[in-house]
């Protein structure tokens, strides 16, 4: 992953997406540069005046949210949501028991072969399209859990199904925020309450 995965939108001016590799990110619109600072801070170099400051990462993340978060790039002028990304998608094919010294310690999922696919999201759910395979539609109200794992996202589905997405050209952080926000909104629209937890199952209050 890279700093631009965390700062997928410029905290200063709100432009989305950001440029950058590794521990550096820059905004194509306002030219502000971001890099690793001390502690939980990032070094922010404002352009064109070159003023630099160390700003807490949490503050910058809040500014991304204040500037539109993941939604404004996904939202169309007519108010609909239409956003997509290339992913490597894999489905769980089984569970493997893990033993140690003769005792069962637990289970781990074994995932099937990863296939390149396009993940699309709208207001009601996500759709996975892979060449030569039927589209898989996952409505938000059917999703049982949403969990992140490093640079991947996993969705738990009815029928004990599990699918994992590894993002090839987009920020996993953006997708985590986006799916959580849309899922929360879908639950509210359906009168199912406020989602307070996404894993190991979606919990509302």
């Amino acid at each position: 992953m890279a700093l631009a995965d965390l700062l997928y939108r410029c905290p200063r001016c709100g432009f989305d997406p950001m440029d950058g590799e590794g521990d550096d990110a820059s905004c194509p619109a306002c030219s502000t540069r971001y890099s690793r600072g001390r502690g939980d801070r990032l070094l922010v170099e404002r352009r064109p005046d070159g003023v630099t400051a160390e700003v807490p990462v949490a503050t910058l993340v809040d500014l991304i949210e204040a500037n539109g978060g993941p939604l404004s790039r996904a939202e169309r002028p007519d108010g609909s949501i239409d956003y997509r990304a290339d992913v490597l998608a894999s489905w769980r094919v089984g569970e493997e028991p893990v033993h140690h010294r003769g005792a069962l310690r637990g289970f781990s999922e074994s995932m099937g072969e990863a296939v390149q696919a396009v993940l699309k999201v709208d207001r009601d759910g996500v759709t996975l399209s892979a060449p030569g395979q039927p589209e898989a539609r996952m409505a938000f109200l059917e999703i049982r859990a949403l969990q992140t794992s490093s640079s991947s996202l996993q969705l738990s589905l009815p029928g004990d199904r599990l699918v994992q997405f590894k993002f090839l050209s987009d920020s996993p952080r953006r997708w985590e925020d986006l799916l959580r926000q849309l899922l929360r909104a879908a639950y509210r629209r359906a009168g199912k309450g406020n989602v307070v937890e996404f894993q190991p199952r979606i919990v509302t209050e």
């Binding site: 992953m1 890279a2 700093l3 995965d5 965390l6 905290p11 200063r12 590794g22 521990d23 502000t32 690793r36 001390r38 502690g39 939980d40 922010v44 404002r46 400051a53 700003v55 807490p56 990462v57 949490a58 503050t59 910058l60 993340v61 809040d62 500014l63 949210e65 204040a66 500037n67 569970e95 493997e96 893990v98 033993h99 140690h100 069962l104 310690r105 637990g106 289970f107 781990s108 999922e109 074994s110 995932m111 049982r144 859990a145 969990q147 992140t148 794992s149 490093s150 991947s152 996993q154 738990s156 004990d160 952080r173 307070v196 937890e197 894993q199 190991p200 199952r201 919990v203 209050e205």
Partner: protein, 253 residues
């Protein structure tokens, strides 16, 4: 001759865990200047839960390397996918934890370890923090603490985000402080209704203990989503509201 005050093991009994603990210590000290406080808060015998915050992939290595007792840590099940980790992690006493469903097996293993008087490590945020702040604590984790009734040792890890944040591909050498807090005693709650009644209070207490250990300057979402929990007080730094302006949040920008 015993190896230390927390064990009656001798050199001849050093396990894979002990070996990799030494390796982890070497790795940890090569990546970070480590400062440890509160080791005396780890019970010398009997069961306990070790509950650290989670800022970096290094946290389990660093915490287990400096903890004076052996810890069996909940580890996300995806880590067991590769053959190398599938062999290694059980030898580090890792307990595979399925996060895509409520995992009854992990509860059974944890309760058995409590009966045997072992130490169990759980990262209650469920995943590394993206921005270094404390994330909301998983309710299921705290339910398990209430069911088991063993002492809970909160552990603040400060600085590992600086060494290797989640979004970075490479670590850099910085200072890391590992602070073991005083044990919390929630009591044993056998009945589900008792656990539910005690849940919000226990989450708030544990979150506050972690907040105190990681320092007041760390922003927190640890109590987010609590129903009926006390309002954040001096120990919590409130995140700014959605829609706040850049200048108000970060005047330097």
């Amino acid at each position: 001759m015993p190896l230390g005050p927390y064990t009656n093991r001798t050199v001849a009994h050093v396990s894979w865990y002990g070996f990799f603990k030494l390796v982890g210590k070497g790795l940890g000290y090569s990546l970070a200047r480590i400062d440890v406080t509160g080791r005396e808060n780890i019970p010398r015998s009997g069961p306990f839960f070790l509950i650290p915050n989670h800022q970096s992939v290094l946290d389990p290595i660093l915490v287990q390397a400096v903890c004076p007792r052996t810890v069996h840590s909940f580890t996300k099940s995806t880590q067991f996918a590769s053959p190398v980790f599938r062999w290694l992690l059980p030898r580090l006493n890792a307990i595979p934890t399925r996060r895509y469903r409520v995992d009854p097996q992990v509860v059974r293993v944890a309760l058995r370890l409590v009966e045997e008087g072992r130490g169990i490590g759980i990262y209650p945020e469920g995943e590394r923090s993206w921005d270094g702040s404390l994330q909301p604590l998983r309710r299921g984790t705290v339910r398990l603490l209430l069911k088991a009734g063993a002492p809970v040792v909160p552990c603040g890890v400060v600085g590992s985000y600086d060494v290797w944040p989640r979004w970075s591909r490479r670590p850099r050498r910085c200072g890391v402080s590992i602070r073991f807090g005083k044990p919390l005693h929630f009591g044993k709650h056998d009945e589900k209704s008792d656990r539910e009644r005690a849940l919000d209070g226990a989450i708030a207490r544990l979150a506050r203990a972690l907040e105190d250990l990681v320092g007041p300057d760390q922003p927190s979402g640890a109590t987010a989503g609590l129903s009926g929990s006390p309002s954040p007080d001096g120990g919590f730094v409130t995140r700014p509201p959605k829609g706040a302006k850049t200048g108000a949040l970060a005047p330097e920008l």
